[in-house]
Symmetry: C2
Subunit: 206 residues, 2 copies
């Protein structure tokens, strides 16, 4: 630990931004290496053998050869011992619960809808109905949780909030609206402020 690591990522990808936000917020030293997924750069022999055999970003590489992939596993590692990951084992478990929920019940719908529209140029109307329904359901679930508590776990941002923030704040780019989700809007602004992220803008949250 301590050695400057390299982050292979794409700044348009929420999964990659999560890593940048946490590293920046904690003042970690790293080198960012842009990767173009759409140009097949995660599928080259060099990428698969030296960066991530699973062909995905974000992926971290340390000077001593250690490698780590999966955005939420990276967040958990980088944030250990910091304000972004509580020490208490059960509170930590509640953070984990959100991290796994994000990758199983939120990202595959909210982020994938955005991918279809932003990267593939498809229209909101062309999104598969099941994808839309599950994305709306995930956003509703968050809205209910955020109506009851200031943050997803506890009262200050944790990596659970970072992980969910990434694609929720750009949900409009996937055809979803946060207009009737005031608690989610409030939470986005508070997370951005606490983490030092440039606000996405009031208009985008409508």
């Amino acid at each position: 630990m301590g050695a400057k690591f390299k982050v292979h990522g794409d700044l348009r990808s929420g999964n990659c931004l999560k890593v940048k936000w946490v590293a920046d917020h904690l003042g970690l030293e790293y080198e960012w290496h842009d990767v173009d997924v759409m140009a097949g750069e995660t599928r080259t022999e060099a990428f698969l053998t030296t960066v991530n055999p699973a062909g995905q970003i974000p992926a971290l590489v340390w000077p001593d050869g250690r490698r780590l992939a999966q955005s939420n596993a990276i967040l958990r590692y980088l944030a250990r011992g910091s304000v972004l990951l509580p020490d208490d084992p059960f509170v930590m478990a509640k953070v984990d619960e959100w991290l796994f929920w994000e990758q199983y019940s939120h990202e595959p719908y909210v982020a994938v809808a955005r991918f279809l529209m932003l990267y593939r140029g498809e229209s909101a109307a062309a999104r598969p109905a099941d994808l839309v329904a599950r994305g709306e359901s995930a956003l509703d679930f968050m809205e209910r949780a955020l109506a009851e508590a200031p943050m997803l776990v506890g009262s200050t941002p944790t990596i659970a909030d970072v992980a969910l923030l990434a694609y929720t704040r750009v949900a409009h780019e996937g055809g979803f609206s946060l207009a009737f989700r005031p608690n989610t809007q409030r939470w986005i602004s508070e997370c951005e402020s606490a983490l030092g992220i440039a606000p996405i803008g009031k208009k985008e949250l409508q």
Copy 2:
């Protein structure tokens, strides 16, 4: 910690079995409460308000009211400080990498194919082509990893192995074959032996 918790689960579900295997292996005291997902038991008002608002199993409830869902978050919590979760932060991060990979790149294909066949009674031939391709790809990825190392992380089973074992050993029930994946077969037998799980049988692995 220490108080006997209740596990709401279904023994046909790999995600639920993971929890049972870890709790049994570590000698934790718990009470198992059978839940029938197909009968809508995870969607009742009582389940949503007192067990898991996300309407999913497995879900743990402690006598003091604490609740925890998401199979891999549960494994991580129950296994902390045990032989199933290494202390070293980076080794732990590699375990996390597999846990997140399992929920994003393996379970949605290998487990969902099994769900379609076992719970819905569909035929292997009726499985969506994309689901099959991604499931085969996930099983190939594991086979390559297990050709290079005895276990997914290190040389003795961790919760990464437990998490992947759950649906990989019953991949045949989803129409997948392990016949040409000898390293995966070897790993399944070794995990079952180390964890004290009744062997799935040679025939099923073909």
